[in-house]
């Protein structure tokens, strides 16, 4: 993006924004040009057909940034500036706000230049996209994209669970009957393959593709990518499900005995073991936005956990009957659950409010959400992909695919339009256009990183490992002002000093000469100031009340509109 503000200091205007006024000015300038009275500034302004016949430069000023792009990079809300007497603080706030505005603008500009666009799939006018088969898609796209649809027939040791690494390059498969394998799924290069000769409950990559954890029949094991057993962790027994929190280096496990345990994989220590007292835990998800663990229970509740609290943060009754699967979206806004009551429900987990409820005839056994918000739900041997389930109610799936066996695990591949499906007969990699984030960040998760880059990333990531104590519902709380502590400290200070150093000085009217300072007049002036203050308060409250009233009225109106048709009894309503 080139800043083209060389010739003028005006706000950016575009040639299509030109109005008649400009035309008039042109005419004027022409005259001036004839009279040789042009000011230097006018000389600098390029005119469309000026006196000298120069043409206008159509793109003055820096290019505008679209508002929605700016909104994407907005962090927090601007507060009020501190009052003028606190000029130092005011100055600091003004400067830092200017800096953050600039950063926001630059980010938004950079966003316009990102190289890749997201994928999509659109059918004919009367064609449902869910009827389009994988083969049709493969035929339509280029060879490298087409190669992302493939089947691995592994009928002996299934059904399979799977996990993609953080960069999306590596795939880890764990067969129920002990088959564990990891591979670079794009080049189809096998990294290791083995049979652990035990039941495998779950598999999970750790922070990089060099280590993975396998929850086996009894203990939790950690292997490296050559398949060498590094650790057998006997503190973690009967693990059914695992989640890895990449920025905290924590492996959270849920066990058949009802324990939720956290393992710090950077130092190899158990952080905390929480007895959930909720029986067998085989439904688990984590919120990528705030690293909170969601557990689904057989009584239909979903509970939210942090390592800092022995009780659940939140307990939500989501289903009648047991919860079968839970998924949370990338921004931490939505949670999707499916239950034994054959329902699929969408919740807003900031407000703990149900948004949508769908009925699936067979019920969904596994759920997964992609980076761009596609939802995959497995019912028996069919995998359905839904788009935008939290918006307007969805009636048809976006895509559907029948796997060879009953589905055991689904997982979207990060940064790719691929959905991995583990089932009884092996593994299917399915192409789902529009699933993955098209532009990755090279310093966070780079699918094309070299070994050296990975090593450097690992060191950096370990250095900025977030301590488990910082996990909470709002991850940005650390940057907010702790008002209660401040008030406490202020009280202590007042106690020590014996007076309030921040107290507002009482208004004392100045002694005016020439007979205006009689005691009556002084009293009057004092009252005037007091009234002025009071008036401000009153004005504010009245405004607030009016605002609330207006909102309430609008809401009622909407409600009335939503209530729909006029009934016959409406005529009696006032």
């Amino acid at each position: 993006m080139i800043d083209i503000c060389l010739f003028c200091n005006q706000p950016p205007t575009r040639y299509w924004e030109r109005t008649e006024e400009d035309g008039k000015n042109d005419g004027k300038k022409q005259k001036e040009g004839d009279n040789n009275e042009q000011t230097p500034q006018q000389n600098n302004t390029r005119t469309k057909k000026g006196g000298n016949g120069r043409s206008i430069y159509p793109f003055p000023g820096s290019a505008p940034v679209p508002e929605e792009k700016l909104k994407k990079f907005r962090r927090g809300v601007k507060g009020e500036l501190p009052p003028r007497p606190q000029y130092k603080l005011r100055d600091v706030v003004i400067r830092s706000e200017a800096a953050s505005d600039l950063a926001q603008k630059q980010n938004a500009r950079y966003d316009l230049m990102l190289p890749e666009d997201a994928g999509f799939l659109e059918g004919d006018e009367d064609e449902d996209t869910c009827t389009i088969s994988q083969d049709d898609i493969v035929d339509a796209v280029d060879i490298t994209a087409g190669a992302k649809y493939f089947n691995l027939t592994l009928s002996q040791f299934g059904p399979y669970r799977l996990d993609y690494s953080k960069t999306g390059r590596h795939l880890l498969l764990g067969g129920r009957r002990g088959h564990v394998t990891c591979l670079d799924w794009q080049s189809k290069q096998l990294m290791c393959e083995m049979n652990v000769m035990e039941t495998v409950n779950d598999v999970k990559w750790l922070h990089s593709e060099a280590l993975f954890a396998v929850a086996q029949k009894k203990w939790l094991y950690i292997y490296d990518n050559k398949g060498i057993e590094l650790h057998c962790i006997r503190k973690f027994n009967d693990v059914l499900r695992m989640q890895f929190l990449p920025y905290h280096f924590l492996l959270a496990t849920a066990s058949a005995t009802g324990f939720l345990q956290y393992l710090d994989v950077s130092v190899g220590k158990e952080v905390v073991a929480i007895c959930t007292k909720a029986g067998r835990l085989d439904v688990m998800a984590h919120n990528p936005h705030n690293a909170i663990i969601h557990l689904g229970h057989s009584n239909g509740t979903v509970t939210l956990w942090t390592p800092n609290q022995r009780e659940p943060l939140v307990k939500m009754l989501c289903h009648q009957g047991g919860v079968r699967s839970v998924a949370v979206d990338k921004t931490g806004t939505y949670m999707v659950t499916s239950g034994m009551d054959k329902k699929l429900k969408v919740y807003d987990i900031r407000a703990y409010r149900p948004l949508q409820s769908y009925f699936l005839p067979a019920g969904a056994s596994c759920l997964s959400l992609s980076q761009r918000g596609l939802l995959s739900a497995a019912t028996g041997d069919i995998v359905q992909v839904y788009r935008d389930v939290w918006g307007i109610p969805v009636t048809k799936p976006y895509m559907a695919h029948r796997a060879k066996g009953s589905v055991w695990g689904v997982h979207f591949c990060p940064f790719e339009d691929v959905l991995g499906v583990g089932h009884g007969e092996g593994f299917t990699s399915m192409v789902v256009p529009g699933a993955g984030e098209p532009n990755f960040d090279g310093l966070d998760a780079n699918p094309y990183r070299s070994a050296k880059q990975r090593q450097e990333w690992e060191v950096k990531a370990l250095l900025e490992k977030i301590q488990p104590e910082l996990i909470g519902l709002d991850p940005s709380q650390l940057s907010q002002v702790d008002h209660s502590t401040w008030e406490q400290r202020h009280e202590d200070r007042v106690q020590v000093l014996g007076f309030d150093p921040l107290a507002k000085e009482k208004f004392t009217p100045r002694l005016k000469t020439k007979g205006r300072s009689s005691s009556g007049k002084v009293e009057k002036r004092k009252k005037q100031v007091a009234h002025e203050d009071q008036r401000d308060v009153i004005r504010q409250t009245v405004e607030d009340r009016m605002k609330i009233d207006k909102e309430r009225k609008e809401k009622e109106k909407k409600k009335a509109a939503a209530a729909g048709q006029k009934s016959a009894l409406d005529r009696f309503r006032k």
């Binding site: 064609e127 532009n439 960040d441 090279g442 094309y448 070299s450 991850p475 709380q477 650390l478 014996g498």
Partner: protein
């Protein structure tokens, strides 16, 4: 076989994977690895960025962790002591900066010797300037000569150049005064200098008697300084606990402020030259606005003994003070407490202190015949920094600033090891102060409302202002 015709209809023929079949439109992410990996091993790695906040979760906790690490590393790398310049055979009494050369510094000791030091850390020239103490010295603004005053009641002007082989060390000029001089300072632009002793004298370089003398009451002066910006203004510290301001063009002093205790030295802020800071015998430093002397606008506390000298950094944002308690402290100009304290086992009472003109070093002269060279910023890396290194330093600096009030970071960044005597004395002083405050509060509580007004710390130390 109908494919080519339909492809031609496509609005984006440049995308090979974007084709209409049965009027179905599909695009699947398909990256060309050539766009993401380097071409040859000689190139640097490509790092495509996407600043989307949703791809960077836990922004605040990660920044906090970085800030915490940066704070810890800062304490690890805080090694401020650089060198000790030894060679004097008596306590060093005064120092002077060279206005033109960063690497030159002058020092005067109690046995009348003037030693030159270079940042090669060696003495370049030694001369016997006075008999008895060298009380003050100053380099002329052009840097070609310098003046010294001593206990032998003389002012001597010396050439900066080393005399050639066989030449004698002789002053350019010698003035014999009537009384002992205690301090000297030179005008910023003209050939005028000022000395103080029993009165403040303004001298022309060409004459052997002062062109003007000021005295206000019977007292002796300990320090006199020219204002660096309003060059005709002067300030001096007198032994009757006052700080006096003068205008060189007027016959009488401007005004003075009398404080509870005597001020030893003062220094003008080089950037906001209406402010000056004085080092006081009551363990504090006071920053005054020249225009409003009735109360200092900041009281800088932390020393546990008399403060002997003070010097501003050339940026005017910080100053350094030397104290009888054997420590040096660095204060931000508007903060009541120091941000840094330097001490070593062998350093005795620090008598003189200077902040180098490049804002990077501090020189301290102490009783035990040594001059010490310190870094002004204890954890700073010296030498050239690579651009990425510089960027990293700036980034961590900003992070530390952002999270400075978090208790853990605050604790680590504020922690300083202190010698036992100073540590216990600080504690004792705190207890005493707290007791005094408590008593005052109790007296106020049990007396008639309004009869015991609240006197702030700033107002406490000023007795009166005389005009």
């Amino acid at each position: 076989q109908h494919l080519p015709a339909l492809t031609a209809l496509s609005p984006f023929p440049e995308f090979p994977y974007f084709i209409h079949i049965h009027a179905m439109k599909v695009k699947v992410l398909s990256r060309n690895p050539d766009d993401y990996v380097r071409e040859t091993k000689l190139d640097i790695q490509r790092v495509p960025r996407n600043y989307d906040p949703s791809l960077h979760p836990f922004e605040v906790p990660r920044e906090y962790t970085r800030a915490l690490n940066a704070t810890k590393l800062e304490r690890v790398f805080a090694k401020p002591f650089l060198a000790s310049l030894d060679g004097h055979r008596d306590g060093v009494n005064c120092m002077a900066k060279h206005p033109k050369s960063l690497s030159t510094m002058l020092s005067g000791s109690c046995d009348g010797e003037v030693v030159w030091n270079l940042t090669k850390r060696e003495c370049v020239r030694t001369l016997q300037a006075h008999e008895g103490f060298v009380r003050g010295m100053v380099v002329r603004f052009c840097g070609t000569s310098f003046f010294t005053v001593g206990d032998d009641k003389t002012i001597k002007q010396w050439k900066m150049e080393t005399p050639g082989y066989g030449e004698e060390e002789e002053p350019l000029n010698t003035i014999l005064g009537k009384s002992v001089f205690t301090s000297i300072d030179h005008h910023q632009k003209e050939g005028v200098f000022v000395t103080c002793g029993q009165q403040v004298d303004i001298w022309d370089e060409q004459r052997s008697s002062p062109i003007r003398s000021f005295s206000w009451g019977v007292d002796s002066f300990s320090c006199v300084r020219f204002n660096p910006v309003e060059t005709e203004l002067l300030a001096s510290c007198a032994s009757d606990r006052s700080i006096v301001l003068y205008d060189m063009r007027e016959a009488t002093p401007l005004k003075k402020v009398i404080m509870n205790m005597r001020s030893n030295t003062l220094c003008w802020n080089p950037m906001e030259a209406y402010n000056f800071t004085c080092s006081n015998e009551d363990y504090n430093l006071y920053t005054y606005d020249m225009r409003y002397l009735d109360k200092p606008f900041t009281v800088h506390m932390d020393h546990v003994s008399a403060v002997l000298d003070v010097d501003y950094s050339p940026t005017g944002k910080e100053f350094v003070s030397a104290s009888f308690d054997k420590t040096i402290r660095i204060f931000p100009k508007d903060s009541g407490h120091s941000r840094e304290v330097y001490h070593t086992k062998r350093m005795q009472h620090v008598i003189s202190i200077k902040w180098s003109s490049d804002n990077k070093y501090i020189l301290s002269a102490s009783d035990e015949m040594n001059i010490r060279l310190w870094k002004a910023n204890a954890a700073e890396k010296l030498g050239l920094l690579a651009p990425r290194e510089k960027a990293a330093v700036n980034y961590s600096q900003k992070l530390k600033e952002k999270f400075q009030h978090h208790p853990q970071i605050r604790r680590i960044s504020h922690h300083r090891h202190l010698p036992k005597s100073i540590y216990s004395q600080t504690k004792e002083l705190r207890v005493m102060k707290e007791a005094r405050r408590r008593k005052e509060r109790n007296v106020r509580k049990h007396s008639k409302p309004g009869s015991m007004p609240v006197v702030t710390e700033k107002e406490k130390h000023v007795v009166t202002v005389v005009k």
